[in-house]
């Protein structure tokens, strides 16, 4: 995986053959790791076990009940989180934002807590809806606050977002603490795919749908990225497109939160790396962002399963360490274009 990420960036060229080559590499790595993901786990689910055991064996059962759902969930989460970051960056016109640095994740978490408190018996889908609604409010509040900031400096925008998230996070923590839910909340918010299985992951398909929506509206997001005046001059209904973008971001955030918990850095790092490779055209970068996001998360999830086998390391720890490293590298790179 490291090879894949460093290959394009060690010598960034803008020639087309090189880009195609990198794209192919990402694709191949994705297929290989997805296949590996199906066969890595506590129980013995190997191709030979599948063939010998036949259709009724434990191996076949686990493949269907546990491995395939987990792999699909990981791929969808990775792809959609990358897209959420990309769209948010276009909406705010800032390369340093993602749901985690804008307060959206914190708002969605608060929504989840509210749902758990007020309607404990509610179906997961309903809880996710409430989390998405709060995420939407969070995106709106963030964009409002950003608009009020007089100087839209590059670093100021995510800083404001992080502070906003801090405030909302504090409110959530306060209620969780008072209600003795702190432990549950931290467990639940910790990014992990360990308990993913058939029946417990289907909500990520909603995030998948949002990726398709983003894809369809991709060109509009490109134009939005040029600014409100420019977009309006081109005859675009600015508010409507921003609205769609906000919904996409909020729903993806909520779906990922409900299924896997919080996964930091991904929405920040992946779109930036892609923009280094192929530039800022949203329509062209969407498959790249989705592919690279999926690749990143599946590699991390495999590590999470393997390092402390048969136990698991929380995925958010691994993503956090690798993601933070990549982020610093993006920031400190000589002649950085990540802005």
């Amino acid at each position: 995986m490291t090879a894949t990420l460093s290959a394009p960036t060690s010598a960034p060229t803008r020639t087309r053959p090189r880009r195609t080559w990198v794209g192919a590499l990402i694709g191949v790595a994705l297929v290989v790791l997805a296949a590996a993901s199906l066969f890595i786990g506590v129980s013995d689910v190997s191709p030979t076990a599948l063939v010998e055991g036949g259709a009724d064996s434990d191996a076949a059962f686990l493949l269907v009940a546990s491995r395939i759902p987990r792999t699909v969930a990981v791929l969808l989460v990775g792809a959609s989180l990358g897209i959420a970051g990309l769209i948010l960056q276009m909406l705010v016109r800032n390369k340093f934002v993602e749901p985690g640095t804008t307060g959206v994740t914190e708002f969605a978490t608060l929504g989840m807590l509210v749902a758990i408190l007020l309607w404990p018996g509610m179906a997961m889908m309903g809880k996710m809806g409430i989390a998405a609604l709060f995420g939407l409010i969070g995106t709106w509040v963030f964009m409002r606050v950003i608009r009020a900031v007089p100087v839209r400096q590059l670093v100021l925008v995510p800083l404001v977002g992080i502070m906003l998230g801090g405030i909302v996070g504090a409110v959530t923590t306060f209620f969780a603490y008072r209600l003795d839910l702190l432990q549950s909340l931290s467990q639940w918010a910790q990014g992990s795919f360990a308990t993913i299985m058939a029946g417990r992951y289907e909500y990520v398909w909603v995030a998948g749908v949002m990726v398709v929506v983003a894809w369809i509206a991709a060109d509009r997001f490109s134009v939005i990225g040029l600014g409100e005046d420019f977009a309006t001059n081109l005859g675009l209904d600015y508010r409507r497109v921003v609205g769609i973008g906000m919904v996409v971001v909020a729903v993806i955030t909520a779906a990922v939160l409900v299924t896997a918990g919080m996964i930091p850095f991904l929405g920040l790092v992946v779109p930036n790396i892609v923009s280094l490779i192929i530039g800022d055209n949203v329509r062209r970068s969407i498959p790249w962002v989705a592919g690279l996001g999926a690749l990143f998360v599946i590699a991390c999830d495999i590590l999470a399963r393997v390092i402390r086998f048969p136990y698991e390391i929380p995925l958010s720890v691994i993503v956090g360490v690798i993601g933070a490293g990549l982020f610093l590298w993006l920031l400190l790179r000589k002649g950085s274009r990540a802005h």
């Binding site: 909340l185 639940w188 992990s192 360990a194 360490v321």
Partner: protein, 339 residues
């Protein structure tokens, strides 16, 4: 709970990792503590106090405190001690009221005052009450120096094994409260109860202590005698009640290790001993953990098929773990399987 913002999440992860390894080593040796009653109407209590104020590099210093017999006003920060003091027929004048579990409320005086939280003392409020004795332990152990200036303060944290601590604390509190006979009787009864429970578990086959929290699974480990607060909990099922661990090499796990459903099926223990951290959040009477464990993979395990998933009282096993009444609850929980 601010696992939200990326940088913080990463550093939090590191700190957690450090803390997990750290608290495993933070052992507290039982000091020579035969609390001999002196003629002056005091009882002497000695213990090795961690003066470093942290678990990472503890520095122990033997501390001896003279405690008055039959104290009138007692302030308690340690829930297990609250349990024992109440069970021995005394009342407590002050405690961190928000943290007192329902079944221990009756041990509080009618006009009990709030002494702070499990981590911080409201020194002004405590000083105003002029207590005769203050009992700390576990999370409040670091408060010793401040509190001992107000009134004689003893630290009844877990030291040595669970049974050793139970015996030391019960004997000591019995002596202080002038209830030596009741204390000895209660101890004998608990020892019988534990022996009875062990006799049941010895034929029960293998078991796995499992903490379910926020929809995630954590396998608990035996504490191997090193039963400092964090290390005990779910692991007590092996240490105190003699359940044979299904995985031999569960080691170094403090708050348990994250595992998948597959892990349960693969290791397939005869009994699952479940500490349901989410019980507080669930609707009246509902088992939150039961919902999590009700799925196709768990339904294939021996524990499920033989109806051998035992739900343990989360307050007793996770929050209090210690004290006369609580230990009886734990014994009863284990004896369920004999019925």
């Amino acid at each position: 709970m601010s696992t939200t913002r990326p940088l913080i999440a990463a550093s939090l992860a590191l700190v957690t990792a450090a803390a997990l390894t750290g608290c495993a080593t933070g052992t507290e040796e039982v000091a020579a503590d035969a609390p001999a009653a002196s003629d002056a109407g005091t009882v002497t209590f000695s213990w090795d106090r961690n003066t470093a104020g942290e678990d990472e590099e503890p520095a122990y210093e033997e501390t001896t405190v003279e405690v008055p017999k039959n104290p009138e006003t007692i302030v308690v920060f340690d829930m297990a001690s609250l349990d024992t003091i109440g069970a021995l027929g005394a009342e407590v004048a002050g405690a961190p009221l928000d943290s007192v579990p329902d079944y221990l409320q009756e041990h509080l005086a009618d006009d009990a005052f709030n002494a702070g939280t499990l981590f911080e003392a409201d020194l002004v409020a405590i000083e105003a009450q002029q207590p005769d004795l203050i009992v700390i332990g576990g999370r409040s152990a670091g408060l010793f120096e401040d509190l001992n200036e107000i009134a004689p303060t003893v630290d009844l944290s877990i030291a040595g094994s669970f049974e050793e601590t139970l015996e030391r604390n019960t004997t000591f509190l019995g002596e202080v409260l002038g209830a030596e006979d009741e204390a000895a009787e209660a101890l004998a009864q608990l020892e019988d109860g534990i022996a009875e429970a062990r006799a049941v578990t010895v034929d029960a086959g293998t078991g796995l202590g499992l903490m379910v929290s926020g929809g995630r699974l954590n396998a608990m480990a035996p504490s191997e005698g090193d039963a400092t607060g964090r290390n005990a909990r779910g692991g007590l099922i092996y240490d105190v009640f003699g359940v044979e661990p299904v995985v031999e090499d569960v080691k170094g796990a403090t708050h348990g290790e994250p595992v998948s459903f597959e892990f349960l099926l693969e290791h397939n223990p005869d009994y699952l001993w479940v500490v349901d951290r989410d019980a507080a959040t669930a609707a009246e009477g509902a088992q939150a953990a039961a919902t999590v464990l009700d799925n196709d993979i768990v339904n294939q395990t021996t524990a499920f098929q033989n109806d051998q998933i035992v739900y343990l009282d989360p307050t007793a096993w996770y929050i209090v773990f210690g004290g006369i009444q609580t230990t009886q609850i734990m014994i009863d929980d284990v004896l369920q399987i004999a019925e």
